[in-house]
């Protein structure tokens, strides 16, 4: 399946749309591991992650004709994954999730993501990998998308359907929350910073 690396995701998606159904396997190979990782981090208490990821691929296939091949495929499939994971979380949670997001209420200045990310990427990746399950899903997810899945602010905004300015603010809050949790648990955060 991976014998056609020259084809972009968008081209492969176009071929699938046109009826070359076998090519869908290429997309599954390219995104399988990523969606597993994203799902595992986001749905930290979810046991049947395989079923959820399978569900993501089924929805991707069913809806692939709604994908605009002039756009990037990656945020589109992550959006489907986001919705599927939210539904999986809702099934197991008691209270309402994402009822209202105050971060999206006002406009926020977009910070220069490349500078801030490069400087702290290694350390944050480590912190994020270890302490994610301790913060709420809204913040957990954005850290996964940014530090682990390496999506840009613009792509994350596309996945989460929020303004780009909100992405920066939410990442900043998520980091602060994560650090607070570390302190509460008595874990020495300084060795990561």
């Amino acid at each position: 399946m991976n014998s056609e690396p020259q084809l972009t995701d968008e081209t492969v998606a176009k071929l699938v749309q046109e009826g070359d159904i076998d090519k869908f396997g290429i997309l599954m190979e390219r995104y399988g591991a990523k969606l597993f990782r994203y799902g595992k981090k986001f749905l930290s208490n979810e046991d049947n992650i395989e079923d959820v990821v399978q569900d993501v691929f089924i929805k991707t296939f069913e809806n692939i004709k709604s994908f605009d091949t002039k756009q990037r495929f990656s945020p589109w499939i992550y959006r489907i994954a986001h919705n599927t994971y939210i539904n999986a979380l809702k099934k197991n949670s008691i209270g309402p999730m994402y009822l209202f997001d105050f971060d999206t209420l006002l406009a926020h200045t977009v910070t220069d993501e490349s500078i801030s990310k490069e400087a702290e990427e290694k350390e944050m990746k480590e912190i994020v990998e270890k302490g994610l399950s301790k913060i709420e899903p809204k913040y957990r997810e954005i850290l996964v998308l940014y530090y682990i899945e390496d999506l840009s602010y613009k792509e994350i905004a596309e996945v989460l359907h929020i303004p780009v300015g909100t992405v920066g603010v939410r990442i900043m809050r998520a980091k602060e929350l994560l650090k607070e949790k570390y302190k509460e648990l008595g874990i020495d955060i300084n060795k990561h910073e």
């Binding site: 159904i21 599954m28 990821v53 399978q54 069913e62 004709k65 209420l105 006002l106 406009a107 359907h161």
Partner: protein, 233 residues
């Protein structure tokens, strides 16, 4: 990548257990969403225009100039139910707009303020047209098959709530007489004396249309506010 999972999905596709939704399905969804958004916008704007029209036509806006008592009465008479329905529709409209790319990329407060401004502008534009005046005339002639209750009574006096509208027949120093009908009986209520509040300065002449806020005591209206109605056809 878990090969087993990939094979499972591909097998389901081959067996026809899952299939691609046709492009027409998504086009239809977008058109439906767009249509519902436009309809919601129109309904919300028409309701705004009706609220403005009813306040103007019923003379309720005059109450704001009649002191604390007038303001209290204005708040009592304000069409709160329609206002709340309109506010809910506005929130629904914002939710619909959030489904579009420009919507979810905009901060909620901006989206709300822009949609509120647009609705107010469109509502005011509808109010300028003869749309509501036409419906009012139809309702008063009992020719409006629906929503007649919203219009019929707007230009009438309401003795129980203390607002009166009528035509001046004669004027003296601090009182005047006017013909009015609150339509509580099949026949007109006839001519009634209005005692103007202290310091009342508006010069009235016979045939003037007036709006009076006051209490009916012993067959006379003791007014606390009087305004001449201009251009209320």
């Amino acid at each position: 990548m878990n090969e087993q999972l990939k094979d499972q999905v591909l097998r389901k596709i081959e067996e026809g257990k899952i299939s691609m939704k046709p492009k027409a399905y998504f086009v239809f969804k977008v058109i439906l969403l767009g249509t519902i958004t436009v309809i919601t916008f129109i309904i919300t704007a028409v309701l705004v225009s009706y609220i403005i029209f009813s306040l103007k036509t019923g003379g309720h806006l005059f109450l704001l100039g009649f002191g604390a008592r007038g303001i209290y009465k204005f708040l009592l008479l304000f069409p709160w139910v329609l206002f709340i329905i309109d506010a809910i529709l506005l929130l629904f409209l914002d939710w619909l707009l959030k489904q579009f790319k420009f919507g979810y990329h905009s901060p909620i407060i901006y989206l709300f303020l822009v949609s509120l401004a647009l609705i107010t502008v469109f509502g005011s534009l509808i109010d300028v047209t003869s749309f509501h005046r036409g419906l009012l005339r139809e309702a008063e002639a009992s020719k409006l098959p629906f929503a007649g209750g919203l219009y019929d009574g707007l230009r009438k006096s309401h003795r129980k709530i203390g607002i009166f509208m009528g035509e001046v027949t004669s004027v003296s120093t601090s009182t005047f007489f006017m013909d009015y009908d609150d339509y509580d009986t099949p026949w007109p209520d006839g001519n009634i004396e209005v005692i103007a509040p202290t310091g009342f300065h508006v010069i009235l002449v016979p045939k003037d249309e007036v709006f009076v806020a006051g209490d009916m005591i012993n067959g006379e209206i003791h007014a606390y506010g009087i305004r001449k109605i201009v251009g209320n056809d």
